[in-house]
Amino acid sequence: MKTVLKLAIRFLQQHPFRLFLTVCATAAATCLVLWVVSGYEAILRSYDVFANRALGRYALSVDPISRKWDRQVLPEIVEALRNDPDVIAADRMWAERVVVQSEVVKLKAPPPGSGSKPGKGVKECLLLGTDALAPPFDLLRGRWIGQKKGPGKRTDPIEVAVSAEVAERYGVDVNNSLIVGRDESSLPLRVVGIVDNPPVPITGLMTGSMTLPSPSIAGIYVLMEDAAQILKRQPVITFVGLCLNEGVDVHAFRFAWGPKLSTFKEPAQFQEDHDLEEQLDEAASAENLKLQSYAATLMALLLAFLVIFNTLNMGVLERTRQFAMLRAIALTSGQVARIVFAEGFLIASAGFIGGLAFGQALLLLTGSLSGSVLRHGAHLGVLGISLAAVASFGAAFLAALVPAWRATRVRPLDAMAPPQASKIPPAKRYWYAALIGLGLIGLALVFTFVFPPTNETGAKCRLLYALITLAMGFFLLAPAMVRLVDRFVGPLLARAIGISPKLLAQQLSCHMGRTVASAIALGVGLAMYVSIQVWGYTMLETFVPGQWAPDMFIAFEPSGLTAKGAEEVAHLPGIDTDRCAPIVVEQPRLRKDLTDSATRASVIRQDNVVLVGIDPQKAIGGSGRKPLLDFTYVRGTRRGALASMQNERGCIVPEHFLQETGLQPGDRFELVPPENPQKPVLYTIAASVRFQGWHWMTKENNLRVRAHRAAALVIADYETVCSDFDLFKAKHVWLRYETPAIEADQIADKAQGYYAGILGETVNNGKPKNTSNTSHLGNENEHSSQGNPADDIQTVSTEAVRQTVRAHAKRWLWAVSILPLVAVAIGCLGVLSVIVGSVRARQWEMGILRALGFTRGTLVRLVIAEGLLVGIVAGLLSLGFGIMAGWCGAGLSHHISFFGGMQPALVVPMMALLIGLLVVLQFAALAAIGPAIRVGRTSPLHLLQQGRSAL
C-alpha cells in the first residue's frame, strides 16, 4: 500500500497545474454543497420563527364563514373535529376586547399592529378565553393557566397568562395583578405566566384585525369559564385551534374537512389567512430548499466526478507505458488500479479540505451580509459536511472506476511497444451510438407526452425516467456531435479566426474521450440552467394574463357602485364605453369535490371557484369588435356561450377545469353559497376557454374574497350571480381602454374624482393588497386598524399584472439559475485542465509548426479555437438536453407540481438561453487563453524539446 500511495502521489505531482485545477474544482464543488446546505439549514432555523408566527402550536384554525356580528363556531363542529383520530386537540377560543388596567405603571401607548387600540382613556386589550391545556406559544416565565386548578374549581383572583408585549406595556410580571373592567364591575386578574407571542407581524395587516382567528392576537389568555365570568355571558366559540397528529398532511386534512365544515347549520371554514398560507408556503419552501440542497449535492458530485474523471483518465492514458512497465516488473493489476483510486482519494481529500476552509469563509461572509435573512447565522453543519464529503469522495470514487479499469487493462507487454500516435477512432460506431441516443430521447418524449402518467407516483417515476433517458441519449449523441462540430463548425471557426482549417481539423475527434468529458463537465451547469429557464418560462406563460384579460380593473371600496354609477364610470374619458362592465364576485365552494382536492390539492385542484358575474353582452357579446373578455374558445362558441349565460345559467370556465374535473360543455355543477349553504346553486358549462393568467388576475385584482386559492375563474351572468349569492352592488369594474395610448394613471385619476364626487368626500387611490380581504373578513366600516385610511379606489392595469408576474418569475428563475452558472464556472476548470493536457501533448507538433514558419498568433488562435469548439459542443448538448428536460418537466409538472396542470405550451426563452450559451463560450475561451498564451510565448526549440520529452 505504501508503494501504491507513494506512486499515486508522484503521479499526481507529475502535472501540478492539472492537480491544482482538479483540486480547485473539487473544492469548489464541495463548497457549493456546503453553501447551499448550510444556507438551507440557516433559513430553516429562521423559518421556525415564522412558522410559529401565525398559529403557534396549532396547525390550523377554524372560524365561521358568516361575517355577521353574532357569528360563532358551533359546538357540534368542535365535537366532530375532536372525534377525528388525526386531531390531537381542538381548542375553543373566544376572543373579546376588554378594558384592562394595571396597578403597577401608567399605561404606555400600544405599538402599531399589536392588536390593541387605545381609546379616549380606555385601555383595551384582547382577551382570549380558551380551554387549551398548553400555551399556543412558548412560555417565557411562569406557568400556563389552569394548571393548579382542579376540575370545576375556581381560583380567586382569576389566573391569566399575558403576552410579553402586554406584560411590557402594563409593566407586569408573574404574580403581578391586572384589573379587567371598570369601576364596580372590575375584576382582579393574577398573572401566572408570560407567553412569547410572535413579534410585530410582518404583514401587519390581518393581525391588526381583531377577527383574525389566531392566538397570536391575544393579549390576555384566560380559561373559558373565567372568560365567561369576566364577560358575564355564556362562552362563544370565535374560532377553534387545531393540533394534528404528527405526520398528518395539513393540506390533505384541510381539503378533506373543508366540505364537511360547510355542511353544518352555521358553516365554518379553515382560516385562509395570509400568515397561515405564508407558513405553509414557507414549509413548502423549506422542502424545496431541502430538495435544492440534495440537487446541489448531486450536481456537485457530477461536476467533481467529471473533472476528476478527466484528470484520472488523462493520467492513465498518458501513463500507459509507465503502468505497463510497473505491471511488467512489480505491480499486479489490482495494485495499478489502487494507484488510480489513491489518486482520486488524494484529490478528493485535498478538495474536501480546501472546500471546507473556503466554505467556512464564504458562510461567514454570507452570514454577515445576509442580515435578517439568515438571522440565525449560517455555519457548517453535520448534514452539510456529510453531503460535501459524499460529493467529493463519492465523485472521486466514481470517477476512478473507469480509469482504474483502464489501468488494469494495460498489458505488461505495452511497455515493450513503441509509443502510439493518437488515431481517429472509426466514425461508424459514433453514428450507431447517436442513433441509439436519438431513440432514447424520443422515448423520453413519448412516455411524457404520448403516454402521460395517470398518477403522481407514476409521474415522478416518469420524470426520473425521462431525465435519465435524456441524459443517456445526449451522452450517446455526444461523440457524433463532436464529429459534426469538428467537421462543420471547425472549418468555419478556423476561417473566422484566420487559421488554416487543416490545423484545426479533427482536433476534438482525436481525443474523443476527453473532449466528451470536458464538454459534459462544462455543459452540466448550462444544461441545468437551460432546463430551469425553459421549464420556468413554459410554466410562467400560463400564469401571465393573456389577451382575454381586460385592460384594467377598478375597485370602488367600500360602497361599490349602483348600476347608474357603473354606467357613468363607463363614460369616463379614456374608457371604451362599450367594453366596460361592473362585476360582482363571490368565491363559493364546489358542492362536490370535482377536482379531487381532498387528496391531490394543487393550484388548480381546489374546492372552490372564483365566480364573476358580468353582463354577458358586454363581456363576450358585441358586434364586429373585440369583446371586453376576448376569449379563445376551446370547447363551445362565443355565440352559444352568450345565449347560455343569458338564458340557461350558463358559465364560461377554463379548459383546464374541464380536464381536471372531466366535465363537458352542457354539464352542470353545484356551488354552495357561503352565506346560505343550504341552498346550492347550479351552473351549466357553456364553453371552455384558454384562460391564461386568471390566477394572478384574481390575486392582483383581489377577487379571491374568501380563500387563498381557487380551482377556476368562472364567468357567469351578472344578475344570476347577484341573485344566487345575495350580492346587491358591484364593487369592481373591468374595462378596456378607448385607445392603446391611454395611461392607466389617467383613468385612475378620473375614477378617483368620480367616486369622490358621488361619495362627497376625499377618496384615496391605491393598489389592492394581495393579502387584503377586508371587505369580507374584516369589519366593513373599519378600513384599517393601523390608523391609515383605506384605499377607496383600487386600480390595477393588466399590463402591470403581467409585469409583476414576469418580474417575480424572472427574479425567482435567475435566483435558481445561480447554482447552474456556478456549476458552469466549476466545469470550466475541467475544460482548462483538458486544454492544458491537450496542449502539452501537442507541444512537439506545435514546435514543428513554429519551426515551419507558423506564427505565435496562429498557435494562440489554434488553442483558443479548440477551447471554443469544446464550448460549442457543450453548448449544443446542453441546449438540447435542457430544452427537452424543461419541456418534459413542464409536461409532467401537471401531475407533480403544485403549480402544474395548466397545459402549458413549450416556451423557449431565446434571450436567456443565448446568455447562458455566451457564458459557456466565454468560459471555454477563457479556459483556453492561459494555455494558448503559454504556447505562444514558448520558443520553437523549447516546444520541440518539451514535446519530445512528453512523448
Binding site: 507513494k6 509507465q322 512497465m325 499486479t332 507487454l413 511497455a415 515493450m416 520529452s949
Partner: protein, 277 residues
C-alpha cells in the same frame, strides 16, 4: 493446442504459490521447450515462433540474434511471461509459467525475472534510487540492496537524480539495477543498447558481462547488434520464428567476425529452407 493463458485464472493454485520458494537445484534457470506462438491478423494466422527450444544454464549469458520480424522479441516476451503461448512450455527455475494467473505471474516476474527494456522505462518522477527500489519498495532490506546495486553499477553520485537528468547509459544502468534488485533467477534484456551511442552501449555490454562473470547471473539478451552479442557466451540465431543455428562467441575475436558468422548461419539456413522447399 493453446495453453491456458497465463493471465487466466488458476484457482486452487494461488494458495500454494510462492514465488520465493527455492527452485529445483538441478533445474536450469530457463528451459524453453517446443514453444509455438501464433498471431492472428484478420483471417490470416502468422506463426511467430515455431517449436522453439532453448535451455539456458545457470551463469550463462545467451544472446538471441535475428533480423527484424524474426520473432526474437516475441520469444523474450514469452520467456518473461508477458504474453501467452500456443504450444510448448517455458520453465523458469524449474517452474512452468503456464497456469500462473495474472497476480501469480506478476509476483513471479517481480521475484524471479529481471527485465531490462530498450527504452529504459524509468518513472520520470522517481529518483534513480527510487526507480531501483521500485520492485522492493514494500520489502525489508530493499533500500540496502538498492543502495548496494547503485554503488556497484557506478551510480552513487547519481542516486538522487531523476531520469531526465541522467544520460542514456546511466538510465540503462539504473534499469539494470532495478532488474537486479530482487536477485532474480534470470535477467531478460531487450535490445539494451538500441537507444545508446556506441560508447555507452559498450559500457552496458561490459556491465552485463561482468554481472555474469562476477555474480554468476543468468542473462538472456535479445539483440541484432553483433557487438552486443559478442559479450554473451553463445548466440542463438532466430529466423522466421525458428532457431536456425547457434554458436559460442568465443570463436569470434571481434564483432565483425561474429557478424560474418551470423550472416553465414543465416545464409545456410536460407539455403536449407530453399532446398527443402
Amino acid at each position: 493446442m493453446k495453453q491456458e493463458s497465463q493471465a487466466g485464472s488458476a484457482s486452487g493454485r494461488k494458495e500454494d504459490f510462492n514465488p520465493k520458494s527455492p527452485f529445483m537445484q538441478d533445474a536450469p534457470p530457463l528451459l524453453v521447450d517446443r514453444l509455438t506462438k501464433r498471431f492472428r491478423q484478420g483471417s490470416q494466422v502468422i506463426e511467430a515462433l515455431r517449436d522453439v527450444s532453448l535451455t539456458v544454464c545457470r551463469g550463462e549469458f545467451v544472446a538471441i540474434m535475428g533480423a527484424s520480424g524474426s520473432g526474437k522479441s516475441t520469444l523474450l516476451h514469452a520467456m518473461a511471461g508477458l504474453t501467452d503461448i500456443d504450444a510448448g512450455s517455458i520453465q523458469v527455475g524449474g517452474r512452468d509459467l503456464a497456469g500462473l494467473n495474472d497476480t501469480q505471474m506478476t509476483r513471479f516476474r517481480r521475484e524471479q525475472i529481471g527485465l531490462v527494456f530498450q527504452a529504459y522505462n524509468l518513472l520520470p518522477l522517481l529518483t534513480a534510487e527510487e526507480n531501483v527500489r521500485l520492485p522492493v519498495m514494500e520489502s525489508r532490506g530493499g533500500k540496502d540492496k538498492a543502495s548496494a546495486l547503485i554503488e556497484r553499477l557506478g551510480l552513487a553520485n547519481r542516486r538522487t537524480h531523476k531520469p531526465d537528468a541522467l544520460s542514456g547509459g546511466e538510465q540503462q544502468r539504473v534499469a539494470i539495477a532495478r532488474a537486479l534488485v530482487t536477485d532474480p533467477a534470470i535477467l531478460l534484456v531487450d535490445e539494451p543498447t538500441g537507444n545508446l551511442d556506441s560508447v555507452a552501449g559498450a559500457e552496458i555490454c561490459d556491465l552485463l558481462r561482468s554481472l555474469c562473470d562476477e555474480q554468476d547471473r543468468t542473462i538472456v539478451i535479445v539483440t541484432h547488434e553483433p557487438s552486443v552479442a559478442l559479450a554473451a557466451d553463445r548466440v542463438q540465431i532466430l529466423k522466421d520464428g525458428v532457431i536456425v543455428d547457434g554458436f559460442p562467441t568465443a570463436r569470434f575475436p571481434d564483432a565483425q567476425e561474429l557478424a560474418n558468422g551470423y550472416q553465414e548461419a543465416l545464409q545456410k539456413a536460407a539455403g536449407c529452407q530453399g532446398g527443402a522447399s
